[in-house]
């Protein structure tokens, strides 16, 4: 009887010992994992991103426009540190504000453009876009048959609204009514690969963000990551963008590009002079688009696409200044507007000189 009891106690003790041992093991291994995991992820981050805690701070930062001056300074410093380490060159992230008394506008002479695509490549280079798989381009050049352009300028002012019982508000008659009086983008080719340009039977029309005065993309953004600055340029806070692509759907010109993958920007090709809302390297899952080279234009320089154009087809300037190139174009040249304009009031004008 007593022997049996001792045996039972021993078994119970063994079982308890085994459970205790098991729990001890679990606790020790959990503690080890807790200590080791951050160290291992830290080490992994060290290779991919030399300043892991910066990323965490970035992740939790607010909208740049709503930050205090001190917070802005910290955010800029974090980015400069990270980019400098990542691309192995001293990188500056500017925060220069838009100048006062300016409303930027752009004009492009279709009759001069030779379709060389220098603007496309200058834009990619200047704005640190993804270079391969795929190369993200903010400007697309369309090649169109010359037959697509037709207008009789002398008839432009001869049309009048048809009389009706409600007054003179009827459909347009006379002048260019019932005729094509402009330019159609039908049969345009986006991926022409000519050895020599221009092709004399075609004309070329580069398309990019139209910097609308009433931008539908801004209205569509649920978090106000995209906004219009006081110089009329539509910008994006890449850190605040949630990648919902509502703006892309809202843009009637489809001028926005979404980073489906991590942009591939080789360190040696990276432009180290950047702006927070402009050409600083973007991340996967955010939207990007033309900013009229905000890093240049806010410092009084011209956009890269305009600077590189070999035939002077591009004009950039202040719409508030009657002496600016864009205002002169509007005053003296034959300027087009999109037929279906959706009330967006683009500040990018196509014209014929």
């Amino acid at each position: 009887m007593s022997e049996g009891k001792t045996e039972g106690l021993k078994e119970a003790n063994d079982a308890l010992q085994g459970r205790r041992e098991f729990l001890k093991n679990v606790c020790v291994s959990s503690a080890a994992a807790l200590v080791a995991a951050p160290a291992s992820t830290g080490a992994a981050a060290e290779t991919a991103n030399p300043d892991a805690d910066v990323t965490v701070s970035e992740f939790f930062q607010g909208h740049f426009l709503l930050m205090s001056d001190e917070e802005k300074k910290q955010a800029i410093a974090r980015l400069e540190k990270r980019y400098s380490a990542q691309y192995r060159k001293k990188t500056t992230v500017s925060n220069v504000e838009a100048p006062d008394g300016v409303l930027f506008g752009y004009a492009l002479d279709i009759s001069k453009c030779i379709g060389c695509r220098r603007c496309v490549h200058a834009c990619v280079k200047e704005n640190n876009q993804s270079r391969h798989d795929p190369e993200v381009q903010w400007i697309q050049v369309m090649k169109m048959p010359k037959g697509n352009i037709a207008f009789t300028a002398e008839n432009l002012d001869k049309g009048y609204p048809e009389k009706s019982e409600f007054g003179d508000y009827g459909v347009q008659v006379g002048g260019n009514a019932y005729k094509t009086a402009g330019l159609s983008t039908e049969d345009a080719q986006n991926y022409y690969n000519d050895e020599l340009v221009p092709d004399r039977d075609f004309f070329y029309m580069p398309v990019q963000c139209q910097q609308c005065e009433k931008p539908p993309c801004v209205k569509a953004c649920p978090v106000r990551a995209t906004f219009r600055d006081h110089a009329g340029v539509v910008l994006i806070d890449y850190n605040w963008c949630i990648g919902c692509r509502m703006c892309q759907l809202a843009c009637p010109y489809h001028a926005r590009r979404f980073n489906w993958g991590e942009p591939k920007l080789p360190a040696e090709e990276m432009n180290p002079k950047t702006h927070y809302f402009g050409n600083r390297p973007r991340m996967r899952g955010v939207m990007e688009k033309c900013t009229f080279c905000v890093q240049r234009t806010r410092e009084g320089r011209n956009p890269a696409c305009m600077e590189v154009c070999p035939v002077g087809a591009r004009k950039f300037g202040n719409l508030l200044d009657p002496e600016s190139d864009v205002r002169r174009v509007l005053a003296t040249k034959r300027v087009f507007r999109f037929k279906e304009e959706f009330g967006t009031y683009p500040k990018f004008f196509y014209y014929i000189g």
Binding site: S29, L330, Y345
Partner: protein, 86 residues
């Protein structure tokens, strides 16, 4: 002797468990952070974006503005701008 063996075995057990937990944590992290789509899938998505832009742009028509229209357009732009500033 028995105790010694026991402690060594227990040490190896703990080490193995710890390695297992770390591996599981790393695996989970990779699962969460890795792109769900392959490189080809990503390329397809980029191409779909470009194709939709082409469709949108190719359906466009541009019409010449009359002098009145140009003046009206400029006035509208400037008015909107000043309203925005105000």
């Amino acid at each position: 002797m028995g105790n010694e063996q026991n402690s060594r075995r227990s040490f190896f057990k703990k080490a193995a468990a710890a390695v297992g937990v770390i591996a599981a944590a790393a695996g989970t992290k990779n699962l969460i952070s890795a792109s769900s789509a392959s490189a080809a899938g990503v390329r397809e998505k980029y191409e779909a974006d470009v194709a939709s832009q082409e469709r949108a742009v190719k359906g466009n028509q541009l019409v010449l503005m009359t002098d009145d229209e140009k003046k009206q357009r400029l006035d509208d732009l400037l008015n909107f701008h000043y309203q925005e500033l105000a």
